[in-house]
Every structure is written in C-alpha cells, then in structure tokens.
Symmetry: D2
Subunit: 345 residues, 4 copies
C-alpha cells in the first residue's frame, strides 16, 4: 500500500501515520516528493484491510498495490486450473457448453430441452429450479420438483447438471441433485451463500455480479476457495451500463483480464449478456475466440412460450447451428495453434 500525503501535511501528520503502520506490525518508508510526501507500507497485506489510513489527518489518498485475494490469484497458482466436474474438464483444451432452459417449467419441457441440448453436443444441462426474480409475482421456479426433473434428465441423457442455488438452506438439497452449483449474479456478494457453497463439496459456477468489478468477483471466488473448495469456475454474463439496447453489456474483455489475474477457468453467458437471441451466436463465437473455456446458453423447445427469459432463448434450430460453428471454430483454433491469450508475457 502507498499512502499519498496532502501537500500541506505536517511532520506530526506523517509521524501519526507511521505510528499506526508500525503498531500493526508493518514497516513504513517515507519518500519525499516535490509537492507531496508518500509513505510506502511493507508487510503482510491482510493486516491492512482494516486500517483506515485515509481517515487520518494529512492523508490525501491510499493506493492498494497487492491484491486482497490470494487463493484465486495467479501469483499463488501460476498454471491455469482445470476444474473436473465428474469427468468433464473445464479449463482444458475443449470448450465446455452448458445449455438448457432458463427455468425448469415441467418434466416434458425439460426432457425435450435436454434431448436437444444433448444432440447439439453440449456437456452440461442448465435449468433453474429456484429462480431469483425482480418481482415477487413472477414465476419463482418448481424448487425441489425441478431438481428431481434435472436429475432424471441426467439419467436420460448423460449430461451433467448445473443449477442455481439462491439460499443457504437449499445448498445441501441442490448439492444432492446437481453436479455443479451455480451462484447467480444477484448473489455474488451474498457472502453467507458463498461460504455455504464453499463447504458443499461440489464445484461452483460463480456468475459475475450485475455491477461487480473484477476485483470484487475474484474476492467472491476467494470466499468459496477459503472454505476449502478450489473448484470454482467464473462466468461473465454482462454488466450493467447506461446502454439499454442490450439487457446487459457483455464484457468479453473480462476473459483475458481474468486469465491474467487468476488461474480459474472462465466461461461466458451470451444469453443473459445480451438479452436477445439474435446476438447469441456472434457473441458466443467471439467468446470462444477470445479464449473463454466455455459457454452457457439458453435454449428452449419453444421460446415464445417460455415462463422466463424467452426473448434471449434460442430455438432448437439456432442452437444446433451455433454448436456446429463452435465445434468448427474450436477445432480450427487448435489445429492452427492460435492462442488468443499468451500467459508467458
């Protein structure tokens, strides 16, 4: 941490700052600038988290240098991690596709969707049994019944199941049925839930919060990993900006950014990221080219009758077309040794 003093800070101000630093078992180094003095803090970063140096007299600003997350950082684990979900490897050579309806609506709808998903070549079936909805009057999901249908669909197709868990009380139940637990955007800083999924013994898919910085997102992963669960996969799903044409603004630059800062795999959700099925194909292909480890996409047997998120759901035909292109694109990139991201730099 670097502490920038105000131009008119007194010698006493500096002394006080140094005193607080040293009381916390850290070392202070003062650098004289032309207009301002700077104090460098040396030592274990975690002790700094609760020292409010900016409130001290004469302090202009503090600048964090080391990251507040550790287990999720590339400094801690320089090689990219591969998360193994019951045999399916996320973060390896092949893009992993998670597809399915936004919500599980009925046994029939889910089975129909699962068959389409399987036929297209995806490895995971997605589908919400617990739905976090803005309005309390919107469809909230089939809950445990939905989980049962998902498990049945797995039996039927061999697809792995990833599904969202929204409350701590349901973690055990969802972990019983699903292969991978999803933490949704609205819960990215629901720290109680993060800790609970960290102890649930299943890999976790952690979506980026609606307006989360990369730093907050990686700290959310740290909460899960700090409970002893290293199997975290990140999912970029669009951030909130001033632009209203798209439902969110899909931040594909998060892919190379996360790869540079962390060893965790990252996938992209172009369905929520754009909110328009027309934009799913270009953004899905772009995500793979940018180096994403996979995709999450919404597919519905009949989007116009979906109980949630219909406007962004693909028809079976569009889904199949996208999958064909993804497989070709992914093979081409491998065959030609095109690496979007170079981690040796």
């Amino acid at each position: 941490m670097v502490i920038i003093m105000q131009p008119n800070a007194s010698a006493q101000d500096i002394k006080e700052v140094i005193k607080v630093i040293e009381e916390n078992g850290l070392e202070a180094k003062v650098m004289e600038g032309r207009q301002q003095r700077i104090v460098g803090v040396i030592g274990d970063k975690t002790r700094l988290a609760s020292v409010p140096l900016e409130a001290m007299h004469g302090v202009e600003q503090t600048v964090a240098i080391s990251k507040s997350y550790k287990l999720a950082s590339r400094e801690f684990h320089p090689q990219p991690s591969i998360v193994d979900v019951d045999g399916v490897k996320i973060g390896g050579d092949e893009p992993i596709i998670m597809a399915g309806p936004c919500a599980v609506e009925s046994r029939e709808q889910l089975f129909e969707a699962a068959d389409i998903v399987k036929a297209g070549g995806a490895q995971f079936l997605r589908g919400g049994a617990y739905k976090p909805r803005t309005s309390p009057y919107s469809f909230q999901g089939l809950e445990e019944k939905g989980l049962e249908y998902l498990a049945e669909a797995r039996e039927r197709t061999g697809l792995k199941v990833v599904t969202e868990v929204t409350v701590v009380e349901a973690v055990e139940r969802v972990a019983y049925y699903a292969d991978m637990l999803q933490v949704g955007a609205r819960n990215m800083q629901n720290f109680g839930l993060l800790k609970a999924v960290g102890r649930a013994g299943k890999p976790v898919l952690l979506k980026r919060g609606l307006a989360a910085t990369l730093n907050e997102w990686l700290n959310a992963a740290e909460y899960i990993m700090n409970e002893g669960n290293p199997n975290v996969v990140l999912c970029e799903r669009g951030i909130r900006t001033y632009e209203t044409y798209t439902r969110n603004t899909l931040d594909l630059s998060a892919v190379p950014a996360v790869k540079h800062l962390s060893h965790l795999p990252i996938i992209v959700d172009p369905s929520h990221g754009t909110g328009k099925w027309r934009m799913v194909k270009p953004m899905a292909l772009a995500a793979i080219t940018a180096g994403a480890d996979g995709l999450m996409m919404e597919v519905h047997p009949n989007p116009a009758r979906a109980l949630s998120d219909g406007p962004q759901s693909l028809t079976p035909e569009h889904y199949q077309d996208i999958m064909t292109s993804i497989h070709k694109l992914s093979k081409f990139m491998k065959d030609e040794h095109i690496q979007s991201i170079d981690l040796t730099d």
Copy 2:
C-alpha cells in the same frame, strides 16, 4: 403493456401475438401506425410477467406500462406511510437520525459511540455486528456478541437499535436484539433474505443495491411487504457509476422520485454515499432539504482507528456540528412551510 411490432411483421405474426395474449386471459387491441402496428394489452399486469412476447416472430419491443410492484406503490396507498419503530415515527414531520460506528468493535467503543450519538440528538444507534466485506480476510464483525452490546447500549441510552442482517439463519437472532432490521446494498436482491425479514415481525430498513434501479428497489420492498410486513423504510446510499473520486455517487434525486412512485419513507446515508467524511455535512443537509425523512451517518469515537470504513466516519465534533445544523434547518423548513416535494401535482 404495449407491444411494438416490427415494420415488416406479417398478419400471421400479429395473429400469434394476439392469440398468446388471449390465452393468458388478457385483451389485445391493435393500433395501426404509419410504419408499424402496436398491440395494447389490457388486464391484470401480474399475468404478463412470464409471457415472453419479445421472443415472438415480428415483435420489435415491448413496453411495460403498469408497475410490477403494487403494495409499495402510491397508486395502492396514496398517502405517505409512517413507519413506527417502537414509538419513533419515520416519515413524519421530524427527520429521524440513525448514527453510530460502521462496525461494533468492542463494548467500550460502542458505548462511547452511543453516548456521542445520543448527546447529538439522534433517535437510532446503528452498528454492524455482521459485516459483509469484499474480502474474506477483512474484519467480519463480532456477530452475536455485537448484538448483545447493541442491546446493552440501548438500555444505557434509550436509543433504538438498527443493525444489518446478512443471512437468513441470523434473522431471528437479530430480530430478537434489534428494533429494526437492515438489509444491506449487497443483499437487496437476496430474495430469500427479503422474505425472511418480511416474516420477522420487525420494521425493515432496505438499502438500495449497488447498481439497483428504482424499479428493482421498490420490487425488493414488495418482496418484504408481500410477506405481510408493511413497515419498510428505504435508504439511498449511493449508486455505482464511472466516477471514482467518491466511493459511490449519492443519488439524491431518488428522494423525490421515490416520494412520487411510492408511499414508503426514505432516508439517506451520506457516509456510504460519498465515502469521505468531508462530504457528509453538505450531503446530509442537502438530503434533508430535498425532502428525505431522515439520515444514516457513521460516527466513530476515533475514526483513524476504526476497523472498517474509517475514511467516511465523522469525529464526535463533526457529528455534533452536523446535528446542530440539521435541527436548525429542519425547524426552518417547518416554520416557513417550505415543501420541497408537492405530492398533489
């Protein structure tokens, strides 16, 4: 709801849209424009929540007209509500002040803070026993011990206690000790928690989410009210924008906006809203002038030693100075009959 068809939508497209509307028990009216047709949907709005008309062929856009929240709306309850917290009335003539440290750090710190808060004339003591922190390595709060200290401080001073609850499991415990339950910005769309505090039998202070729209915020209030708890007070605490000089951008226009859309009281938190103690006074006074029903402010006996949020905490002297100004300002506005917001228009 109004459905805007694409300029090239076919007669069959329109027919399909009308069919879906009528199947849901609603009525459709078609309006011929010069370039495009528009379909109006008439009937109970809550049925529309899960009809994804935008996914249908030929549909350009849908525009929501009626609000998705009801209990929180001024249409439902035209007169401003007053929330009574054990005798303290929020939403009445007098601004209600909630003050105290960001986190309860120790019995001594809390008692010292409570005495200062009381002396300044506030009605509520605030202080976090459960702290939602970005990093898992930051101070997380004293938990139940902190709640006990808050209850003791209430005995000592007569101040009401408002404190944050972050997980469903703790709702009952916090409701046992506190007079008012706070739902923090990061949990504004933690719907399980909203429902739990809705059933806890205590008034709720609902902070606006980091990047929540007014619509999402009022729908979050609706989740609480829909469980049978009408005693919800909103708290504007700054939103996330591109500007980094302040910790958040305090959106004071939320005060008149909420008053226009809803009957619920609204207070303002200039400490989190700016992140700088120097800016608390101007924004606190401005909030009162803009029509806020009260304020939440961070005060610490010794901000430079606070375990969290020191940079935005007031010293006892600054707090006392602000309270004096608020009382004068509030009396002046009442005496001169200055009404910032006119709800008769």
Copy 3:
C-alpha cells in the same frame, strides 16, 4: 507519480524504468516491498504526461499523484474565486440564478420568459440560440436572430445574458451579444472550442460532460484558463448512469468535491440534471444547501408548447415558488452561519 512493478520484474526492468525517468529530467526513487518494488518519480508533473511507463516491461501499474491541472487547482489558488460578470458576482455570498427557456423560440416567447425570470429575482437570462440536438431533424435554434432577441431582452430587463456557443466560428458572434459564454456538456472536451472561448474575453460557464470525471472537467477548465481567461464557472448538470427514471443522475456531491479540489465557483442545473420539472424544486434547494454558488433552471411561459426540453421546464408559477424558497433558504443559511463546506480542514 508512483510506478508499481510486477512481482516478477527483473533488475533490468527496473533499470530501464529509471533510465527513462532520468532521461526526462526527473528523479527516480526505488522502494523495496515484500512482493513488489515501487518506483517514485520526483519532479515537474507536466513532463510525465507523455511518458508511457505502463508499456514498459515489468511495469504493473502507474499511479498519478499530482493533478494534471494547475491553474484550476486549489493548491495554485487556495482562496475561492469570485467571477464577476459585468457586476454580478458568482462565488460570493449570494446564490446566482440563471433562468429562462431551453431554446429561444421567438421574440415574444423570450420577452415573456425574461419578464417572468426578472420578476422572480434571477440575475441571468438563459436561452439557447444554437441548440446541439441528438437528431439533425430536431429544432436547431434561431442562431443569430436568437442572439439579437437575447440582447434586446437584456435591454428590457437588465438581466445578464448567458447562452451556449457550439462552434468555434460562432464564438466571436456570441461573445458580441452575450455576457457569459456557455460550453455545453457535449462539447466539454471539444478542445478547439475551449481554447476559442478562452480567448474570447468573456466569462465562461463550463458544463460537466455527459460522462466526465471531475478530473476531466477540471482539465477542461484548465484549457480555458491556460488561454488567459481565469473567469470560469463550472455547472453540474447530471451524469450518465444506468438509471433511466431520470434523464441524468444529478451528482450533487460534485459541489463539495469541486470546492475541495478547485477554487472555481460551481452552480447546478437541476432541470437537465433530472429531466422532470417535478424534481427541480427539491434538487434546486438541495444544491443551495450543499454549497452551490447558484443555479441554472429552465422556465417557459408555456412548457407544453416548448420546442425543446418541455418536460423539464417550470411554469411561471413553479419558478416563482422555487425562487421564494431559495431566497428564504439562502438568507437562513447566512443568518445562522451554516457552512456546508469547511475549507479549513
């Protein structure tokens, strides 16, 4: 400037960085951290502007310490400036009000508006002769005819005239007719225009850009001042955020922030800042309480027939009501010695 090296930066990397710094006539000081080294740069900040240290091998990040503007900074001019516009003092004890229609539409409309503005006690008449409009098909203003009407209205009422200039070619013409030149939000970084108004010999009202940081805004003022014109007044008019209920998000915290960073006066435009006439009164009063040096408001004899920005224009009655409240509020603050912003801290 502080340069933070990557944890794995080599001795050669550091050497190269130091070399570039010294070649630019600056001094480098290295500080050894536990994980990373930091290089402090000492000397005249303006030389750093074009040294792209972040592109060098081994560099993680650079942190600017000193500000890139100088003439606009409080370090350069610790006392608040007063801008004198032909006898009207902006930045002094009394709030200065600029009011009038968004656009000059006709001689009659402007005269009618001017009489209302004068009667309410404002010091300035505003009104656009050159209108920057999103669409080329919207009303673009009466241009020179509009300027003539403004000058006539000044004769008639004694009000000072402030009006926007949008192109360099028109600067001389506008400066001939107006008492104060306005640079609009869309032109805040139109650097050619900033330089031109800096040389025009008239005080300048500089609106904050649609999504401008405080730093960019003060640098825009610096462009004007650097041409020899110290008479710059800033105008907060709302920033672009994700919230769509209001036209912009009025950032009142810019008032204390600017007062802390700069000596320039700052006024607030609640009409553009909210886009809704219902919200003008609460935000106008709040701005004054927060320490603003004045206000700019849209008033129209008949808002429902205005050729632009009708929804945010006040009727004569609303304007008169607001002015009465402002005068009372301002007198109260002076009489009671309530200072929102304390610049001695």
Copy 4:
C-alpha cells in the same frame, strides 16, 4: 410515439393532448386500458421531435417507437453498405485493418511504423496529427507537419491514410491530405464538426462517443449523411463503465446490434477499447468472429517511448502475430461459410 397517461388523468387532459397532436398535423388514437389510457400518435415522426408532450398535464410518459435517424437505418437501406475508400472496400468480404501509432511523432517514427503496418498486411495507416488530450499540457500533435508525413508515408507504402480531425477549421486541410477523416469519441456529438465532415467529400470514420448510446451514435452518423455524404464507417472503441481495470469496456455486442439497426459498416478498436496491449489480440480476433468489418489497432516501433497511449500500443512482433491470426481466422470463416450475424431473421 405512444403516450401513456397517468391513472388519474382527466378527460380534459386527454383532450388537450389530442389537440396538440392534431395541431401538429398528426393523428391521435386513444386506447382504454384497465388503469390507464394510452394515446398513439400516427404520422411523420420528425414532427414529434419538438413536441414536449411529457410536460402536459396528466401525461405519465412517452415512448418513442420509430427511430429518429433515417438515412442510417436498415429500414431505409436494407442491404449492407460498402464504403469504398479509393479502392479499398470496407464492409465487403475481407476485414479491413487500420494500424499505426497513436500520434505522428516524427517523420522517422511514422515511416518505421508504416513499413511495419504495410508488412503485416493492413490496408490503412492511422496516426494522429491533431490529438485531443485531456490535459492542455500533454503532447497535442504535430498538426500540418504530421499530415505531410502521413501523405509521404502513403507514397512510400501505398497504404490509405485515416487521421482524426478535431476542429472545423482543419477539415479542409485534413481532407486534402487524408483518404478518410476520423471523428473521435470526444467529438461524436460535436455537431458542427459532423456537418463539416459531411460536406468535405471524403469518407468518414465515426468513433462511438465515450458514453454514447447506439441511438445517439447512429444519429451522429445521420448528421454526416444528411449533408450528402453516405460514406460513413462506424468504429466501436469501448464505452465508459464503472470497471477501471480496463481503460474502457469494449462493447463487442455493438457489432451485431449495429448490423441489425443500420446498413453502415462497423469496425472495432481493441487498443482504445481495452487500454492494454495484452488484451488487443483476444479482442481483435473476437471482433472479427463477431462480424466486424475490420479493426483499428495501435502499433508503435517502440511503445515504451511513444508520446501517447504507449500502454496500449503493440510492438511490431505482436502486431505481426495478430495479423497472421486474423488472416487465418477470416479465411476459415469464409471457407466454412460461418456467418455470425444473420440479417434475414
């Protein structure tokens, strides 16, 4: 346009609204909802631009249906346009690459850069002779000297020249030397400049504004086209969001969005869009996959000595590597008939 009346609007309110609509030569149709009435406006949209219906009594909200731009819309010109810049076709089968230094710094630097750019296979040389800089003390460009060097570099390499024009006075001069005029992000709503480049007789590259919506961007194109110049190419260069890790947030979804709304070609600038050279390759390849018609990238013979934007400039080696990948990727997409965007839907 659709006008949504307030639930409590009176019959007289509706009458007044209809009167204003009809006075403007338009037709009004009223639709009775359960809670609210809606008034549809039928006729030529351009007349609506200056009718402030939202200011009328009883009006809740107005919703624009038809677009305010026409020449730039796909309704007006359903087939994608190809912009021919002296023989180089933008918007055709092949991605067009514009590369070069941020600023022209010297004859030698530019020639060296031009040779590298040419060798990599780009069609355009970019380089700023007039630089819009946040601070007046930063390097402002070589101006006319820079233009001369660009023209010389064209002689030398056969590359087309695209360069920014920042003031109306320089349009003629820049048009004399350059093949294509660039309007930068900060000038996207500098309407005087847009009109001037619309009359300059050269194709225009129009960058998206720092915080511009798609609607504002296409209206800016409309300003240019409305002067008789149909040769406009759009350039997505990142938008301003809350995320600070990247300089801007590159909005690749703008590519399919623009293709859906407009017939104009669109290219992507991953250098400004990310601000980090490490992220240029993944985002460049992703842009091509998403359907962009080309790229603009910063290349510098020695980025660490660049006078502006060094951190985002590629070294010659990185540039060459990216170009090789782009050519392979582009050929693969063509050979395999992979179309990211389907305009027949």
